[in-house]
């Protein structure tokens, strides 16, 4: 019997473990991303941020989560109860399912006689799957806004759907640029190709990365494109009528989506799990970076322990220091005694480090820029991002042809020559578009319409 169970579960064991980790840890991680965001915000705004719940606010996410879980769950009288109930679930499910396609570390490992990758599913259409599934989240927003039966919610939902749909095109085109270079949709193959070519695609196609970045901010409804929930205009957009746990689910979905788009950008443009300068012997000292970083965290925590006024804060901070120390020790293993673990441990570290860096950029933008108006946002999307991204795809195609060896009809160019041609060509077209737009505004201004 047990034998049968093992035989039945063995192929699915690793994916199941990863699924469990994603479902259990992701809400916590999202909570700590919120804390990180509040701390970054406080830093940018010359203040301290959360400091009361736990040392340096380290327990704030847990307190917030408990508060939201215990809050009264209000369903407005005129709301469509079923849709109101299911809408947040759609959003959060779509956001979480998207994680299934991400590959966090290289290689395949034998486990109970089955080869597994460090991913829930090693799909050959990985990116397509992620984009498709995460787009489903829009249903949650539209249905939630509609089911609330409130004007602000409805306006928020309409804006949100229009915005996500139009920026999805630009984001998709930018991704296609990356996919053209890799020649594959599989998240694993894309990173492996980058490793083989020795260049991250952000350097090959900087424009595509830039377009994807802007479009992904718009897609996740973050400032400066956070119109659907522009609190100064629409109160809280589609979330206005939601409270308690349902609201928390929307919030969770939003942060999961952020992590997903960061994961996609990391995979396609930032070399996934690859260390900076992977394969360069002179840069091997970077293998120590993970350990050093976490030792630094641990040291900082220990240094702050005597400065806490309350005993409980001292204890919590010591626990955090211990945790950081354990992680540092684990990350030190591959460079000392267990080189075989390096791909997984350091792979996951570098992947997450890049995700966090990408998220940091999101936060940085949010606290620096004012918000776009809806029509301006649409104009930016349709008149700029989409045409430029389409042109960029064509230019990249041209560059790839030129890079082919002469016997295949190319010129045998190096990657940087292709990069210069494709980026330069696209920028020229963008400048032409800009001049056209300028002329048009002038004409409109002159005719006085």
């Amino acid at each position: 019997m047990i034998d049968l169970l093992i035989r039945f579960f063995a192929p699915h064991l690793v994916p199941l473990i990863i699924v469990l980790v994603v479902v259990l840890v992701l809400p916590l991680l999202a909570g700590y991303v919120v804390l990180l965001e509040r701390k970054v915000m406080a830093d940018i705004q010359a203040r301290l941020g959360p400091m009361r719940v736990g040392p340096h606010g380290l327990l704030q996410p847990i307190a917030d989560a408990v508060k939201l879980l215990l809050k009264e769950d209000i369903i407005p009288e005129n709301a469509d109860r079923f849709l109101f109930w299911i809408a947040p679930l759609i959003s959060v499910t779509a956001a979480m399912v998207a994680f299934a396609g991400l590959t966090f570390a290289p290689g395949k490992y034998e486990f109970f006689g089955h080869l597994n990758t460090v991913a829930v599913a090693d799909l050959n259409i990985g990116i397509l799957f992620i984009v498709a599934v995460s787009s489903m989240g829009i249903f949650g927003i539209v249905l939630g806004g509609w089911a609330s039966n409130s004007h602000y919610s409805l306006l928020g939902a309409l804006r949100s759907s229009a915005q996500m749909v139009s920026y999805e095109t630009a984001a998709g085109m930018a991704l296609i640029s990356g996919l053209l270079l890799a020649g594959s949709l599989s998240t694993r193959a894309i990173v492996e190709k980058q490793a083989a070519e020795g260049v991250w695609y952000v350097f090959f196609a900087p424009l595509a990365f830039f377009i994807y970045m802007v479009a992904s901010i718009a897609e996740t409804n973050r400032a400066p494109f956070d119109l659907p929930e522009a609190e100064s205009e629409l109160v809280a957009g589609y979330m206005t009528e939601f409270s308690g746990f349902r609201w928390a689910l929307y919030f969770l979905a939003e942060y999961c989506n952020m992590i997903v788009v960061a994961g996609i950008a990391t995979t396609v443009f930032l070399g996934g799990w690859l260390r900076p300068f992977e394969g360069t012997r002179e840069a091997d000292f970077l293998d120590l970076a993970p350990t050093v970083i976490f030792l630094g965290f641990a040291g900082y925590c220990l240094w702050r322990v005597p400065r806490q006024f309350e005993k409980i804060h001292k204890i919590v901070l010591s626990i955090f220091a211990g945790l950081c120390f354990v992680i540092a020790a684990a990350l030190a293993l591959p460079v000392t005694v267990q080189p075989a673990w390096k791909p997984v441990l350091h792979g996951v570290f570098w992947f997450l480090a890049k995700v966090v860096a990408y998220l940091y950029a999101f936060m940085w933008f949010r606290f620096t820029f004012p918000r776009y108006r809806f029509d301006q946002l649409m104009r930016l999307g349709w008149q700029w991002m989409i045409p430029v991204s389409i042109v960029h795809v064509m230019m990249l195609g041209l560059a790839l042809v030129l890079q082919r060896p002469p016997q295949q009809g190319g010129l045998g160019w190096a990657w940087w020559q292709g990069m210069l041609v494709s980026t330069g060509g696209t920028l020229l077209v963008a400048a032409w578009l800009g001049a056209l737009g300028e002329r048009r505004t002038q004409r409109i201004a002159e005719s006085g319409v």
Partner: protein, 381 residues
């Protein structure tokens, strides 16, 4: 606009469909960005504003009526509660109006200190405006920078008179208190630091493409329209009319100091923004000059303990941060004013709202409310 249909259907948003595609939407009085308790009824065509109506009175406290039942001194703290982010300026206007009625005058020392405090208050008021205006347009960060500097000003107020917001800093005939030791140094230090801070705000906003797109051409008020409405202050100057009571009819000690009056060209939100930014610099300039030349002498002029002005009437106005703040005081020879009529700048500037908002989008409404820089305590009184 009388029939609003069912009130309260769908969580506080009252709606009735008028005609084909127009919807009515109610903003406020409990809306995050109506700066208090302003209520705006918007008639929308899609997201475009067809017409709008401001409903005020949610903060009405009958300040003018209260004045008729208080002595002249007793009423002075009440004026602080009108424009509560610029209490010092309110107090100055009232004190000078009553002084004019009495035929008394504040001594030179009092006048210069009054000027310094009022200009600091102007900076504080403009800082609050800048922070909230930027916040409405979606820039979260300037608010905290502005409050950081505003805090320094409020500390000076607190040291001077013990209060931060509703200061009641002046007294009819002069000053309530002598300046504290180190007042000059505090003001000088603030002014020195503040010069760079304005540039810092400008770095965040002025050249920012999104900021430009959100403010240029939004809420245009031509000079003719502004004059017709009676708009004053930065709203009028943003439209290009060079009118500032500090220059036109100098009061306090303004005649002694050099400063410029910034004006805009197109009368849009961006111009008003630039006018206010420049006004902060000019206020700093006035403070720097004034703090160098505070004369010695008494702080209180010759006014009696019981104020009994001869029967008569007087109108006196000052340039408050938001525009012309006028007091029309009528005396019947008793210790209480017969009538105090207040001309609040916010109330009159708010009349421009409908003209400015028509044809713009819902998102611009918050930018326009922000650029008018209204304080509902002053609008409703």
């Amino acid at each position: 606009m009388s029939d609003w249909g069912t009130i309260g259907s769908g969580a506080g948003v009252e709606t009735t469909v008028l005609g084909a595609d127009e919807i009515l939407i109610n903003m406020g009085p409990q809306h995050p960005s109506t700066h208090g308790v302003l209520r705006v009824k918007l008639k929308l065509d899609g997201e475009k504003i067809v017409s709008s109506e401001c409903i005020i009175g949610y903060l009405h406290r009958g300040v003018e009526k209260i004045a008729e039942y208080r002595t002249y001194q007793q009423f002075a703290p009440y004026v602080d509660r009108m424009d509560y982010v610029a209490a010092v300026s309110n107090g100055l206007g009232y004190c000078e109006a009553v002084e004019k009625l009495l035929g008394a005058e504040a001594p030179p020392r009092a006048k210069v200190v009054r000027t310094i405090l009022t200009e600091l208050q102007r900076i504080a008021s403009h800082l609050l405006w800048l922070g909230t205006h930027a916040l409405d347009i979606g820039a979260l960060t300037p608010l905290f920078y502005c409050f950081r500097e505003r805090e320094e000003i409020l500390k000076i107020f607190e040291k001077y008179c013990g209060a931060r917001l509703t200061t009641h800093a002046f007294r009819i005939g002069g000053l309530q208190y002598e300046t504290y030791d180190g007042f000059e140094q505090d003001v000088t230090r603030f002014c020195k630091d503040f010069g760079g801070k304005v540039d810092e705000y400008e770095q965040l906003l002025t050249g920012n493409r999104i900021w430009l797109e959100r403010t240029k051409g939004i809420g245009v008020l031509t000079a003719e329209q502004a004059i017709a409405i009676g708009a004053t202050g930065p709203v009028l100057r943003g439209s290009g009319v060079k009118w500032d009571i500090r220059k036109a009819m100098p009061y306090a000690a303004y005649a002694q100091f050099e400063f410029d009056i910034p004006v805009g060209k197109r009368g849009d939100t961006f111009d008003r923004y630039m006018v206010r930014m420049e006004e902060m610099r000019q206020s700093r300039r006035i403070c720097m000059q004034a703090v160098e030349q505070i004369p010695a002498g008494p702080i209180l002029g010759k006014v009696g303990k019981v104020l009994k002005p001869a029967p008569g009437e007087v109108y006196h106005s000052i340039e408050a941060p938001k525009g012309e703040l006028g007091y029309y005081v009528v005396s019947d020879g008793t210790v209480q004013p017969y009538r105090v009529r207040i001309r609040p700048p916010s109330f009159i500037n708010l009349q421009a709202f409908d003209q400015m908002a028509r044809g713009h989008l819902v998102a611009d409404v918050v930018a326009i409310i922000g650029t008018l820089d209204i304080v509902l305590g002053e609008v409703d009184r």
